[in-house]
Symmetry: none
Subunit: 195 residues, 4 copies
DNA sequence: AATGAATGAGCTTTCATTCAT
DNA sequence: GATGAATGAAAGCTCATTCAT
């Protein structure tokens, strides 16, 4: 990577990191491009070399952060040691939950912005091939394929929406109290679907 | 109610209705006070006689719409005919789901903006006394009280987050296809909690 | 006219006068809205209460100035004393020429921007009814009607384009030298058309 | 011409062709150097190796296109076969008119930008020596010399200004309808001047 | 209570120009 | 010669808010 290429990467990273900080601290509406550029240490015009506008940056940021989150879960959760699809899924979910518990800014950012549609589109572009990973988790039994996708969707949405509020506001109970209930709920759903 | 009072009420209603339409159509960020006032048929200055700014109006709108939604469910779902708490809850949930299926704008608006915390705070202010209604649904068995609240919370979040995407984008499947799975999931959770 | 109405008229006039001065002095491209507003003594935002953008202002200015020019010619040239259409037309043309010779800024502004289409559209909106005036000049002989319009068009274009250069740059000769030739040319055209 | 020279010529031509297209399509004000460079297939910096700024390029383009127009008329109109100055002039004018009728973009570009002064300055620089050509057309009779120049000027301005509007907008009549009138007008002027 | 003209801070966006590679 | 990333001044435009009427 030449000097120029290296420099571009640095500016890109700086812009994204700064934007993440500002977006989570004060929201996208109250964050101006001037703010981002200035705090990232680049000229205002430079912003437009990398992003169309702040919403473009925002979208790219969501995808980027989501990828980091999943990549970590896939590489560190040890889900492969589980024998069944449900076990694998739960292991991954738990890893992600722990990451989010320890990084509330990220949770706030991801959850408010990550829809199932965005997630699926993003997954299909990632390297390594995460689509293959899902194949691996869910199995290749094509008869159960659609059902499994619904299963994943249901569990992810349940975990995402409940934990968002619980972790951030401790309402209606705190995370430690809620986790056992959540696990029971998830297992109940998975068990029922498997019938 | 005198002529003046009546006129004020008309302006207020017009402002809120217009704001709801604009907020859902183009988002709060892209909706200006000038837009709202003009389309509501009042002068810009008049807006400030009723609301502090557009965020104040937005908050009042969320609470107002949520109340309408729950009021309808409580008055029309016939939940009282169910014998157990779970049955009552499911009946109310179903009614709300049907309302939202038929009013996607409302779904979009409510879901993006209604958090558990806002909901609880709002409920406590409503007339008639909805707190009493919840008492009625959940029962007064103080031992199960907290558990039931978690139960309600979990189910509401599950229903809210999954149906939001399904109804609005038909992803990963459309609502007709998804509903049976959702019902199984909800019943599985409720059954498990009851053990 | 109330205080407010009076004030609006003042601001409008100030904006148009200032814009005319700046447009003629430095061109529309190099004139910013901030310049116009500042020198007109109003806030930048006020500009947008009266005009869509600087091109909108420009167009209105062209029409406004053209109207003044023609109004003066019609009211002061005494064209009615001429017996034939050609004489009337020449009298009006001469009056306009003298106005422009004495107001080169106006000439520059009008000529670069006044097209036959704009002129015709503008004329039809003016008060008093200038369309009727043209009727009066050209006569109501409907058989010659279209021919007369072409005649007027040809003469106006000839006078406009030749005098523009001559008055402003004295090239290829100065106005005093050119006028006799122009008059001969105009009379030659009119005489020929009358055949 | 070496490879390098050839390459330079290619880039120059590409820049001028692209600029002509963009200037006529959207005007000089809305055409950026970035646009020109990108669509011409060269880097932005390269632009500055050939032109000072876009106005420099514009001026060079006007002169270049005008030369092409006149060169074609002089080489293809057969004006030499006419015996008198008036006939020669009319023959050249007609050829130019036909070129412009078939190339409206060029008409638009030339007319908005070609003044008598620019034309004269440009003519004096061309190769072959077009000044001599004018000598040839107008004759060397120094007594009539200045009169003939005025004649050329008057006719060119008349033709230019009337045909601009007629060809481009068909207002007040279309070209086919207008041409006979124009020819009568030109002949009337020329005949009168010859008296 | 209602109006809407006026404000001007503040935002997004463009773009000519430079210069290290 | 050629490049194109970077710059930052400058422009257009929006809009919440005020206040005289």
């Amino acid at each position: 990577m030449g000097r120029v290429e290296e420099n571009k990467q640095l500016k890109l990273t700086s812009l994204m990191d700064t934007a993440f900080r500002l977006f989570t601290a004060q929201g996208i509406a109250k964050t101006s491009i001037a703010d981002i550029a200035q705090q990232a240490g680049v000229a205002k015009g430079t912003f437009y070399l990398y992003f169309k506008d702040k919403y473009d940056l925002h979208e790219k940021l969501v995808i980027h952060k989501a990828e980091q989150l999943f990549r970590h879960a896939l590489e560190h959760s040890g889900y492969r040691e589980q024998s069944d699809a449900s076990g694998k899924l739960l292991t991954i979910v738990d890893d992600i939950l722990y990451q989010l518990r320890d990084n509330k800014l990220l949770l706030q950012f991801i959850n408010k912005n990550l829809s199932w549609g965005v997630f699926r589109r993003a997954v299909s572009k990632w390297e390594p091939d995460y689509a293959a990973v899902f194949e691996e988790i869910l199995g290749s039994d094509s008869a159960r394929r659609k059902t499994l996708e619904i299963e994943v969707y249901t569990v992810l949405e349940l975990v995402g929406s409940t934990c968002y509020t619980v972790i951030l506001s401790g309402d209606p109970v705190d995370l430690e109290t809620y986790l056992p209930y959540l696990h029971r709920a998830v297992r109940a759903i998975l068990a029922d679907f498997t019938k």
